[in-house]
């Protein structure tokens, strides 16, 4: 490991730093194409919309993070001494709603997917650019409703909205928050629809299905879930609203309803929603592992089809959230069986990623550190899922901190690590600037340590029996909770660092060449940042996915036709 200098990226890959950092890009690109707020708010360019999403989900990530840190602070001591019980309930509810619906679900698809899907398949934009902009506005509208609910006093049902608590007993802003999620759901549906049509119809000449990057395969699978699953949560939220407002008996037993029916509806969407969060991250990791080991992904078609298998099986396992909900034991058996089946494609991916490293040329750049961290954390997250799929063991573990730890290993250790790794990997393409590599590696390490210290003790707490969503807890659980809170502080600091240097790099970072990682994807064969139309000439694909070649042979479609030797951003000119 010592042979790699951690702070200085090799000069051959990165353009020499500009003497004065306040320079503009020499070539026309999507960032300097237009100026002014209107050119952003009314843009139909998928790349600009991706940045709009990036800005909005970052705001929500910070908000959700503040909630998380307040929760951890409260749990430092067994007594409920920092916030009131009602406040605590609102904190974890809002942490969940914001992180899931307004950060994780849109994170990779709406930011990296939006930016990269057309670039990776050699298209000028998504199939429906206006619909794409509409989906951002729907996201925003949903966000405004939800924020309105939070500002007016918040919501305390848990992000799961279990009935009859949510329909009959809670006096908080359930309908307003639900409406926010309902509207936001249409944003997901439209994004998914756009991706499916784009991937089917807009691939560049020669870009056959089996030449597609695995990022595209995983986004295709994700889009299927978005389009097929999201309507179910929308209808469920409507039913909750109807029961609250006009007292139609759907879930409340006193009105002739069935409270467990809600759980079936809810998890029919919300379990596949877990795959909406993790599948894109898997796609990112396939790209990162390949790029930073310069190896074709081992078992390409197995990895591609495992994404589809996860999407399909993912719809059949919702009942594993109901093993203790008075569901019939035979239904429990079937859901348990299918849950074990859905674990297999995930395992296949992990083994294929690991095998990809074999005899590769492995770099220790920040995106790779995130990708390797992802494999480790996702492995633990996935294997602990087996504990919960095992019926008799789930009875002891469900609704404890074991669950909390498990899904944070998947959603933070998996989805968030993938998102951060992807953001680093494509940052040069998105902004045309390099992030500081030394800081990147350092913060990746801090995040990894902080994450594990936060969530690993929660597995132990869970088996010891500490229930989730407890404002105050028994004293014997304190030591592990203190560890977890300490970890959360480290994690918080670790996440702050990239936030700072990303913003810094937009102005002061070194200029990025077209292909800083010597990767093979089409997105690396246009300039950094790409022009508005993505490629000045339509690319023709004559190579297989992940076919690595010497840099000199990889053509960059730049402003000067066939310019290969010169990094495509051209020379920086003084402003």
């Amino acid at each position: 490991m010592s042979s790699i200098d951690a702070s200085v990226p090799p000069a051959t890959r990165v353009a020499p730093p500009a003497a004065d950092s306040r320079v503009r890009f020499a070539h026309d690109n999507y960032i300097n194409a237009n100026y002014g707020i209107k050119s952003w708010l009314l843009t139909k360019d998928h790349k600009r919309i991706a940045l709009l999403y990036l800005a909005s989900i970052t705001v929500f990530f910070i908000l959700g993070g503040i909630y998380a840190l307040t929760i951890r602070l409260e749990l430092l001591t067994p007594a409920g001494d920092i916030v009131q019980p009602m406040t605590y309930n609102k904190l974890f509810t809002q942490h969940g709603i914001i992180m899931i619906f307004f950060f994780l679900i849109p994170s990779i698809p709406a930011v990296l997917g939006n930016f990269l899907v057309p670039l990776m398949i050699g298209a000028k934009d998504l199939a429906f650019p206006k619909l794409n902009l509409l989906s951002w506005y729907l996201y925003l509208a949903g966000a405004i409703f939800t924020i309105w609910a939070l500002l007016n006093g918040g919501i305390d049902t848990g992000w799961t909205f279990y009935t009859p608590y949510s329909t009959t007993f809670s006096n908080t802003y359930v309908v307003a928050a639900g409406l926010g999620i309902f509207i936001n759901g249409f944003s997901s549906i439209l994004t998914g629809l756009n991706f499916i049509v784009t991937i089917h119809t807009m691939r560049a000449p020669g870009m056959t299905w089996f030449r597609l990057p695995l990022f595209i395969w995983s986004h295709y699978a994700t889009s299927l879930i978005m389009v097929l699953g999201t309507p179910v949560i929308a209808i469920t939220i409507l039913l909750v609203a109807l029961e609250r407002i006009v007292h139609i008996g759907i879930f409340d037993p006193r009105l002739g309803g069935d409270p467990v029916l809600f759980q079936h509806f809810f998890w029919f969407y919300s379990h596949p929603a877990v795959y909406i969060m993790i599948l894109p991250s898997m796609g990112v990791v396939s790209e990162l592992i390949s790029t930073h080991s310069r190896k074709n992904v081992f078992g390409y078609s197995f990895v591609a089809f495992s994404s589809l298998a996860i999407a399909v099986f993912g719809f059949l396992v919702w009942g594993h959230h109901l093993f203790t909900s008075s569901q019939s034991v035979y239904a429990g058996m079937i859901f348990s069986f299918v849950s074990f089946a859905v674990a297999i494609p995930s395992a296949v991916k992990v083994f294929n990623w690991t095998a990809t490293l074999y005899k590769g040329s492995i770099s220790y750049d920040t995106p790779m550190l995130y990708a390797l961290g992802f494999i480790g954390l996702f492995t633990i997250g996935g294997l602990t899922g087996l504990f919960l799929a095992a019926l008799g063991l789930d009875v002891h573990l469900t609704d404890t901190y074991f669950i909390v730890a498990h899904f944070h290993y998947i959603m933070v250790g998996g989805a968030l690590m993938g998102y951060l790794g992807g953001l680093h990997n494509w940052w040069p393409k998105i902004t045309g600037r390099m992030y500081p590599e030394g800081w990147g590696r350092f913060s990746a390490l801090v995040i990894f340590v902080g994450f594990n210290l936060t969530f690993f003790p929660q597995f132990l707490l869970g088996y010891l029996g500490m229930p989730r969503r407890y404002h105050a807890y028994a004293e014997e659980f304190q030591v592990l909770n203190v560890m977890s809170t300490a970890g959360a502080s480290i994690l918080g600091v670790g996440l702050l660092i990239p936030g700072i240097y990303f913003i810094w790099s937009m102005r002061y970072g070194k200029f990025a060449p077209a292909n800083p990682w010597a990767a093979t994807g089409l997105e690396w064969r246009t300039m950094s940042p790409p022009p508005t139309e993505n490629f000045v000439r339509t690319p023709v694909v004559t190579w297989e996915a992940y076919e690595y070649r010497p840099m000199e042979e990889m053509e960059v479609i730049g402003p000067d036709k066939g310019n290969t030797a010169q990094p495509a951003h051209g020379e920086a000119t003084k402003n």
């Binding site: 490991m1 790699i4 890959r13 019980p85 309930n89 049902t157 848990g158 279990y162 009859p164 608590y165 007993f169 037993p253 006193r254 069935d258 409270p259 467990v260 080991s293 310069r294 074709n296 078992g299 197995f302 909900s325 008075s326 034991v329 074990f340 089946a341 674990a343 395992a347 296949v348 083994f351 294929n352 490293l357 074999y358 590769g360 040329s361 492995i362 770099s363 390797l372 492995t379 294997l383 087996l386 504990f387 095992a390 008799g392 009875v395 002891h396 469900t398 609704d399 404890t400 132990l460 029996g465 229930p467 989730r468 969503r469 404002h471 105050a472 076919e547 690595y548 010497p550 840099m551």
Partner: protein
């Protein structure tokens, strides 16, 4: 199945604790094996194949069907062993044995109310004898709660509008945490209590201390005061069906199907009488929803059940038995938990706080888990 306990596991205080821990140990071993395998491989490859020069171009490696098959089939087979083990344990956990003491549990924001068949009532404290099977019949007056005792490795949601069941057999005296583990509102984390496992003699002494009217007798009073007896007469002249001897037996309802008269059916017939009307009768009974509490519902069911016990069998709900090794009437029909029958809950206003008598508390060590 007695493996050494892993660190960070709670007390093993029931017959199933060790079995659950054994499956847990198996899964921990699998997790360790695969995590270590993947981590070691990643580190080994990352060091061995680290990039040594910027222009390195490794040879591509095509996939391998043999390897793909191997790492699909082996994990699948391992997963199936976990599935089978987990499922068989689940059946043990959710199929209450027939010879169990029955205790009735009503959850309510934010407390647990318990009713022993002998008449004792408790809140947030549950006294049980060691070495006896205990079956819990549970419901709630408001939202969904979940009844969990980590030391027993049991948990079951408590759902409004229906009865759910759990059972355990304690193997160690002591005091064990009882948690509500389904979020139920503001004071969810305050909905906790203790299960006190006592020696049989101490338990008997405890039981002897606080009896009240038998639940069936309470139910009978309700049956009169609510006017049920006006229509449900003991002769066949009433406007409603005769209730003697119906419990546990199939009843033909309108539409031609047979319904077994169990707690669920009786509950439905009181709260929503028009749902399944017995053949030959008019749907004229008014709903008693909102007029009887969950506890009163259980008492009414207890009374009807006591009418239904076939002659010669011990009547459930009567204060006749010390509480161990009770035999259940043969009218019990179900093998699935949903059709398991239950006993009534006694009396309407439970006494708050701990145990009725102090003689039974010799094993109590406040703050501690057990006293062996």
């Amino acid at each position: 199945m007695q493996l050494p306990r892993l660190p960070f596991t709670p007390e093993q205080a029931s017959t199933v604790s060790g079995e659950v821990d054994a499956l847990y140990t198996y899964l921990v071993a699998i997790t360790l094996f695969f995590s270590v395998l993947v981590t070691v491989l990643i580190f080994y490859f990352a060091v061995k194949y680290r990039r040594r020069s910027e222009n390195e171009l490794p040879q591509p490696i095509a996939g391998s069907i043999k390897l793909e098959t191997m790492w699909t089939v082996i994990p699948f087979l391992i997963a199936m062993t976990i599935f089978v083990w987990g499922a068989s344990l689940y059946f043990t956990l959710y199929r209450p044995p027939k010879d169990a003491i029955e205790i009735y549990v009503v959850g309510k924001q934010w407390m647990w109310k318990f009713q022993h068949t002998e008449g004792q009532r408790e809140i947030n404290e549950l006294h049980v004898p060691i070495g006896a099977k205990v079956k819990l019949t549970m419901t709630t007056e408001d939202v969904i709660h979940s009844f969990a005792v980590p030391a027993f490795r049991i948990r079951a949601d408590v759902v409004p509008g229906r009865y759910t069941y759990a059972w355990f057999e304690a193997t160690k005296t002591g005091r064990y945490h009882l948690f509500c583990t389904e979020f139920c509102g503001t004071n969810h984390s305050g909905m906790t209590g203790w299960v006190e496992v006592m020696e049989p003699t101490a338990y008997q002494a405890w039981l002897a201390g606080g009896g009240s009217d038998s639940p069936a007798a309470q139910g009978e009073k309700l049956f009169q005061s609510l006017g049920c007896a006006t229509c449900h007469r003991t002769d066949t002249q009433g406007r409603g069906p005769v209730l003697t001897g119906v419990f546990g037996k199939p009843q033909r309802v309108q539409g031609g199907t047979d319904v077994v008269v169990d707690e669920a059916y009786l509950r439905e017939s009181i709260t929503n009488p028009a749902a399944k009307v017995v053949e030959g009768f008019q749907p004229i009974m008014p709903s008693y929803q909102g007029q009887v509490s969950e506890e009163q519902l259980l008492q009414l069911i207890a009374y009807i059940r006591s009418l239904g016990a076939p002659p010669g069998q011990q009547q459930q709900g009567a204060m006749t038995n010390g509480g161990t090794g009770r035999e259940e009437p043969s009218t019990t029909t179900g093998t699935s938990p949903d059709t398991q029958r239950s006993n009534p809950l006694n009396s309407t206003s439970p006494r708050p706080g701990g145990s009725p008598v102090s003689t039974g508390n010799s094993n109590q060590t406040p703050g501690g888990n057990s006293n062996r």
